[in-house]
Symmetry: C2
Subunit: 425 residues, 2 copies
């Protein structure tokens, strides 16, 4: 396959292997491995059954890099460290310095919880017990991250299970001598992203195939994500020209749907466009019920340009807060192009924004009629130089119709802000 | 460990093993396995590198049940079926009936795309090629789901990668003779859920430990999820009394934070409480920017009781749409208990709702001051019989502060609706 050192990620957690919670550490560590020039070969999720964990760890440490999350707690069910020692054929010992650090944390916790420190003693010793030759990567609570090298430069990293703790300790692993030595043998690949909206996955796949497909040091992944189509190119060192050629051949039939070459989400693009043009934005949402506003405000600094919105679920709210005429709602219905237009114009005026975007539709599962079936959605964006309107008929369930509508609304604002003034729309 | 038949889930997808997309099929299939009385032992994610895929499939088919997703497409990179045949030591053959079905779908697609059917021919034959003894579970697009039994009742199920397709074909697997025979040997466990809000994970863990812990046919998982603490009990047939005893011993110290014994999210509880009491709800959100409204409207039928909301990001919007006095904002600041109260009362009045909930705070990363640091959040719920207010100082990043605030707001409405009229709050 590739000449990159092979990395295996082992994730432990009973609730993860039972599907009760979705793992976030595997994707994080795999993406990091890829970024560093390693080859993420597999992600294995196991629970705390000793034989399953032992098998997964033993397979993991056979790879050049093994990244393990979870199972570092103070109780006997937390067996990751023991299994790593076994897989490496090493003994365990209590690290005195580590024990001092964990004891300090535990004494503080005991005091806070008003419980005797004796309750913590056995856990402290357990968590300070590490394989011979392993080094600490720092503490997350009372759990230490660990790193051990073995067999001529292979590396095992053990990190705590809570994603925020794992992500906090991970950079420490990269700064160890062992990991640096390993990375000296890798060449991180380049990465290019192409983001499209409004074109189908199969059309992009066809364009890629007709451009000759990937290979020769360029790997292309086509992903439908957040109702957009994302093409990720992983470019081996030296394959930049091949990547340029692939891009040039790939783009002509689908370039009109390309909206970005970076990983910022669409809401961040919209806010940046508004900021660049000195404009403010308001939202008027019925069917999406606040998703558009919540996506916009998820971006730090949104308050520079986003003034607010109205979630106008009941018709009375559309009338009272957005000034949509009752007669219009009666004549055309709340799910209509006319209502979407009136909502957008009302939001512009009532919230004092330069631009407003409105969404109305039937998210289902109930509420559809033969004339206005589930999935029918009207979007309207209105700015200082006029508006843009769209009608959609979205497939899928309530969640996906709502999410698609929100993405559509954000892209409609982008279209409004990027069209030339005399472009027909 | 348990006497349950062991199930291994194998998920294939280059974008998944690279962490570019989060897998949804593994958790779905693992949860299904658990529900059916199987023991989900591992979830393995691999890409399309043949040797990695072959190893994962070979390990998978060694288990009583192997559930595989992805790699069923029409091109040579899609090798799942070939690897399953190899792992089972079986030959491949073209299934004539399956080929007819796939051809019909492909001819329709060719027509729709205005392309010659010849382009599809090799893909059709490839996708109709299955291991000897395997049966079709139906088509997802042109990809068939497959099932094969082997070695005295072991079962391999192969399903398409898109989650919606996988979930559509999965029930067909359960209706096969081979799967029925396997399930005749299992006893699905009982499942109990206890949901808490406002108590720490460690306090719940302590209550569980002091109640004697799990075991003897009852497995307890404590999970911090959506800023709540969820305890899931998996109860083997015959262990119901032990589960009752554990619950009775576990609950006394933490029962005041128990709010549910079912899996409905908090927004669904809130809507049900409103419906039961004949009340309507409105939201007034600043810091959460629409998350509370979007969570409420994610539930079908929300429009019965949820009238709408205002996302009052700019102060001018708080004044114009919610009637918050400019003087109050100047004297106390937009992030204050007084502003939260005025927003809630304004929303009740302007949106004509019986109950309103307001959120204001500092989500960060910017905007914090020594007096009002990042994470400071004020919530206020106001109903016909008065209000409830809360001040929080939340840890974490912008996303987690916003999400926590929204969960807090929903629970505050629950508290308002469930308190007795003369309870001190």
């Amino acid at each position: 396959m590739t000449g990159r050192p092979r990395a295996i990620v082992v994730v432990t957690g009973s609730e993860l292997v039972r599907g009760e919670r979705t793992d976030r550490n595997g994707p994080f560590l795999a993406a990091e491995a890829l970024r560093l020039g390693l080859e993420p070969a597999r992600i294995v999720i196991v629970g705390d059954a000793p034989e399953e964990l032992a098998a997964a760890v033993a397979e993991g440490v056979a790879a050049e890099v093994c990244l393990i999350s979870g199972g570092l707690g103070p109780t006997h069910d937390d067996r990751t460290v023991e299994m790593v020692a076994r897989a490496l054929g090493r003994d365990l010992h209590v690290d005195a310095e580590l024990e001092r650090q964990i004891e300090a944390v535990s004494r503080a916790a005991a005091e806070r919880l008003k419980r005797p420190y004796a309750d913590f003693q056995s856990g402290v010793t357990k968590q300070a017990t590490i394989p011979d030759g392993a080094i600490s990567l720092g503490l997350a609570g009372t759990a230490p991250g660990l790193l051990a090298d073995h067999d001529g430069g292979r590396v095992v990293v053990v990190l705590p299970g809570p994603p925020s703790e794992l992500q906090r300790l991970w950079p420490n692993a990269l700064e160890t001598d062992a990991f640096r030595a390993l990375l000296a043998r890798t060449q991180p690949p380049g990465r290019r992203v192409l983001r499209f909206f409004g074109v189908s996955e199969s059309a992009v796949a066809r364009a890629l195939a007709e451009a000759g497909g990937d290979g020769d040091g360029v790997e292309a992944t086509i992903c439908a994500r957040d109702f957009e189509i994302h093409v990720d190119l992983v470019v081996e060192p030296g394959a930049e020209e091949r990547a340029d050629a692939l891009e040039s051949a790939l783009l002509p039939p689908i370039e009109r749907w390309l909206y970005s070459r970076d990983e910022r989400p669409i809401e961040e693009h919209v806010l940046a466009l508004l900021r660049a043009r000195g404009l403010t934005l308001a939202t008027a949402e019925s069917e999406t019920g606040g998703i558009v506003a919540s996506r916009l405000t998820s971006i730090p600094g949104a308050s520079d340009v986003f003034v607010g919105g109205v979630v106008a679920y009941a018709n009375a709210v559309k009338e009272a807060l957005l000034g949509v005429p009752a007669g219009l709602l009666e004549a055309k219905g709340a799910v209509s192009a006319e209502a979407a237009g009136a909502m957008a114009r009302g939001a512009r005026e009532r919230l004092g924004a330069d631009v407003a975007v409105a969404v109305t539709g039937v998210a289902g599962p109930g509420g559809g009629t033969p004339e206005k079936p589930v999935g029918l959605v009207y979007l309207h964006a209105e700015g200082p130089d006029g508006g843009l309107a769209r009608e959609f008929s979205f497939p899928g369930d309530r969640g996906s119709i709502r999410a698609r509508s929100a993405v559509g609304a954000l892209h409609l604002v982008r279209r409004l802000l990027t069209r030339s003034r005399d472009e027909a729309v």
